[in-house]
């Protein structure tokens, strides 16, 4: 029977059974917590008051949506993601062009430049907070002092910018790593031909290099977006979301609600909103990448 059946059916069945473990696990991973989050979001449920759970309808959402903290956190999330993306894509492209040139010790320089990507977020947050940005003994304060400039208290004067610097420091090397690899497949003859035709370095960059990097850039944007939307450790270690709400992103806001205020209902409503936001981004992103990966 099996040999008589069309190859497609056998393939389909076999394919299904081979994929079953992965698909089932991911379905469970997605559906059960998602379902529970949705359910909790309609409950008045605080871990500090056991036995008091009751249906709350849209109360959690009303409370959350009328809370300025949510909008502040959403704004911070978008600013954080947007600026880190801009820094790493633009900076990464320029650096990829630079590191593509031949210079003394290029290989070593490349490896050192991509290193921050391998550093765990908790460590990079601590190093930056204590040793780089410390207002008294930090390296940046010392450096400004060389020019007679006053030290900056980074985390109280520019809290969100400080977080952006730390996160960008980790992710720019990632963009560099990907874009540098993409550069290596750039056709030298094409560049040479363009030069012969009188194209300057800028023209070569905008009309040959940049279009060549299009796919790599879209991959960078997609992967970074996945990780940047959920930035947590850097904030947890350095500012705990403060001062005030200055560095509270959605991830951190929900964390505060759930594990510091034990408000499961409110945290779940926040979770649902975060999921909706992420999915809006995902729909747009996945389309873009899928299109790019097709050819």
């Amino acid at each position: 029977m099996r040999t008589r059946a069309s190859g497609r059916t056998v393939g389909g069945l076999r394919s299904l059974s081979l994929q079953a473990p992965a698909v089932t696990l991911l379905l469970i991973w997605m559906l059960i917590p998602l379902g529970m989050t949705l359910w909790f979001s309609f409950q008045r449920y605080n871990l500090m008051m056991p036995g008091m759970e009751q249906f709350a309808g849209l109360e959690n959402y009303e409370y959350l949506l009328s809370d300025p903290a949510l909008w502040r956190a959403m704004g911070n999330t978008l600013v954080l993601v947007g600026s880190v993306l801009a820094i790493s894509v633009i900076g990464g492209t320029l650096l990829a062009v630079l590191y593509q040139q031949e210079f003394f010790g290029r290989g070593v320089a490349r490896v050192l430049a991509i290193s921050p990507f391998f550093i765990m977020p908790t460590v990079s947050a601590l190093i930056w907070q204590n040793m780089m940005m410390h207002p008294v003994n930090g390296v940046l304060a010392w450096f400004l002092g060389l020019f007679g400039l006053p030290a900056i208290d980074w985390f109280s004067s520019f809290p969100l910018l400080s977080i952006i610097i730390i996160v960008a420091w980790q992710w720019l090397p990632f963009a560099l790593l990907i874009l540098l690899t993409a550069m290596q497949s750039l056709d030298d003859d094409q560049v040479e031909a363009a030069r012969m035709d009188g194209a300057g370095p800028l023209a070569v960059f905008f009309f040959i290099t940049l279009p060549h990097l299009k796919r790599a850039i879209s991959v960078v944007i997609m992967i970074q977006m996945i990780f940047l939307l959920t930035i947590f450790a850097e904030i947890y270690v350095t500012t705990s979301g403060g001062p005030g709400l200055a560095t509270t992103n959605l991830a951190y806001l929900i964390y505060i609600r759930a594990l510091l205020e034990f408000d499961v209902g409110g945290a779940s409503a926040g979770g649902v909103i975060a999921i909706i936001l992420a999915n809006i981004v995902a729909i747009f992103l996945i389309r873009m990448v899928a299109k790019n990966l097709e050819d």
Partner: protein
């Protein structure tokens, strides 16, 4: 001739200056770990007499190897699990595609977009009720699921590159699906599988959200260990640096050795 030499010199200086700036915090962390606490907060200097005191002090305060063991356990355990589950799935997607395959793959990637905070509460409660809070197994399971979509995508890319004929020849000779995977697919794509595994190890090793929220002491990996140094009593820079250096050294060296390979997997083959 002279101008080109000058150009090259300027280029090298520029490139190395930027490299120095980017790498500086890491260099500084490594250097500070070998200083005394007094030297650590003094004006920056690259020259000093190194000492191992901070390393001894850090080890005296908390057993590094306990946390390192947890990190190794969860990073490699979850990677192994993700590969065992991911290889058959990626195999079927690459060699037995159906109409639904592409949709399935995109759906898998979309689960990665699910913000962990969105599901933190239910996972926390489930773990509490199952007694899996602060256990290595619990964290391993989470990391496996977290990395599975990326692992499958990467493996798919590597498998896709394998000429179909090789596997077909094996099938002609009567190899079963399992044999085909064990004796043909895995040996032939070992470099790809290895780089997928290495990336998964790196992501798990550095993951901080779940480890901070689901573990406290018994199963805490190095990410949580380092975070404990952010408390006021931990504000000794030399010791903090020594501890940080120990926490990142294994994975940094890993990354250096595998960066070339990793790129292909990371970009799902979109960037050759």
């Amino acid at each position: 001739m002279n101008t080109s030499r000058l150009q090259r010199f300027v280029l090298a200086v520029l490139a190395w200056s930027i490299t120095f700036v980017i790498f500086f915090p890491i260099l500084w962390m490594i250097l500070t770990g070998f200083k005394t606490e007094a030297q650590a907060i003094a004006d920056p200097t690259l020259f000093f007499t190194p000492t191992l005191d901070s390393y001894a002090a850090v080890q005296g305060r908390a057993d590094y190897f306990h946390f390192a063991y947890n990190s190794v356990y969860v990073a490699f355990g979850s990677t192994l699990l993700a590969l065992i589950i991911g290889i058959p799935a990626a195999y079927s997607m690459a060699f037995l595609p159906t109409k639904r395959t592409k949709g399935t793959m995109l759906w898998m990637l979309s689960t990665k977009m699910l913000p962990p905070v969105g599901v933190l509460v239910p996972i926390y409660l489930i773990f509490r009720d199952l007694g899996m809070l602060d256990t290595r197994i619990g964290l391993t399971v989470i990391y496996t699921l977290m990395n599975l979509p990326i692992v499958i995508w990467m493996l798919y890319t590597f498998f896709k590159d394998l000429p179909k004929d090789i596997l077909e020849a094996g099938r002609m000779d009567g190899a079963s699906t399992t044999q085909e995977m064990l004796y043909l697919l895995i040996p032939l794509t070992l470099p790809g599988i290895a780089s997928t595994g290495l990336l998964s190890v790196i992501l798990s090793w550095n993951e901080a959200f779940w480890s901070l929220n689901l573990t406290s002491s018994r199963a805490a990996p190095l990410t949580a260990y380092i975070a404990s140094f952010s408390s006021p009593e931990g504000l000794f820079w030399a010791k903090l640096s020594a501890a940080s250096t120990m926490a990142v050294a294994p994975i940094l060296i890993f990354g250096w050795l595998t960066q070339k390979q990793m790129v292909r997997g990371l970009t799902f083959g979109a960037v050759k």
